[in-house]
Symmetry: C2
Subunit: 222 residues, 2 copies
Amino acid sequence: MPRVVDPAERRREITGAVLRVVRRDGLENASVRNVAREAGLSMGSLRHYFATQSELMAFAFRSVIERIDDRVAGLAPEPDTRERVERTLLQLLPLDDERRAENEVWLAFTTRAAYDRALRPLRDEGYDALRAACHAMITDLSAAGLAPADVPAQAGRLHALLDGLAVHAAMRPDLHTAESLSAIIACHLDGLAVECRAARRRGGADESGGEEPGGGRGEPGR
Amino acid sequence: MPRVVDPAERRREITGAVLRVVRRDGLENASVRNVAREAGLSMGSLRHYFATQSELMAFAFRSVIERIDDRVAGLAPEPDTRERVERTLLQLLPLDDERRAENEVWLAFTTRAAYDRALRPLRDEGYDALRAACHAMITDLSAAGLAPADVPAQAGRLHALLDGLAVHAAMRPDLHTAESLSAIIACHLDGLAVECRAARRRGGADESGGEEPGGGRGEPGR
DNA sequence: CGTTATATAGCACGACTGTGCTACAAAGCA
DNA sequence: TGCTTTGTAGCACAGTCGTGCTATATAACG
């Protein structure tokens, strides 16, 4: 038939339909039929692009992960460590409608991956990527004297905080505004800086150098 | 027929079957038929106790919430603030198999509540209860000089950390042992205490009294 | 032109779903 | 004793599901 649009473009359209259905009706209602209807395609046509349902779902899940990756990678360079980390973290939080949608879909897929083996590698990939990002951010902060030196533990803490905020934002979008989410992130970063300074003052066994040794701005624990 | 067992007991048995199926096959496979088979009952018999599926699910969800409440309420009294809070938090984390099961089921129900209105009041109830518990714990810590005075923000932070850890434990039970989860909780509590001491030292505007004014034990940020 | 690959459409099958309904056995009560 | 309530069982209906399959129309290529 008419190669009127690029097949990859069609796949992206279909993926968009998947995400809309998942958001509106839940993952369990994202049947091949419902997705085809949402995309304005026949069932047979959809199955031309995705032979099976799990293929369709895996592709949609991957596209969400990639979109998040792209957004973080696309951040403007920022020399100030604290500012760079904070912006990165905010980019990972569901602060606007687009990210809220991604976040809900991520949660749905993540939950299903608990018993759907086909989704598990993807889920683990996303988890590992975020874990690594948290590790890198804590490393940077620690080097700048803005976080304690026990990097793995602090990375785990930050990672859990991040995903917890994401879950809460999905559960109660009314209670979790962009402002309240950002405030908690800022509070956590302030807290890490204070912990680090305190550790250096007393033990002094903290080997962290210091690009801005005295200077997390803002009141600690605001 | 034979009133051989208490009807309430039967309902609890059926609830147990629901939880087993949800854990093993996911919430979307917890059909009336599957639950009946798991419970060793006929479909019609099950429907004698739960007229509709959503009634069954709501009951099962509620039972999970109540079990968590009971466990926290059943904690032995503990005069030391820090110890008491830490024990409470550990009680809320999926550290053993029973709590892991509850946690997975909680996650499944919570996710479904995003588009299933019947589950939403229950989900909100659970959320609010945990939120209130976090608020109370931070209040206690703050009064004891073991947490900063900005209670609402710190409560939100702790709440998110808690749910984030729960999600992570459900996603990657292998990576999140009871030890690693406990360590992160301890790390967070240590951090809060350090933040509080630092705030009092510099600003001094911290009105917190002090049941053990100098004394969070353990190294900060272990 | 004809041939082939691509894209769209839609039907059919078997499986599974929730629930309405009837049938029947046993217990409680008259 | 008989009658009513309660518990158990299972069938039937209408609906949805994923997917195998065929049919057809257009674009690309010979």
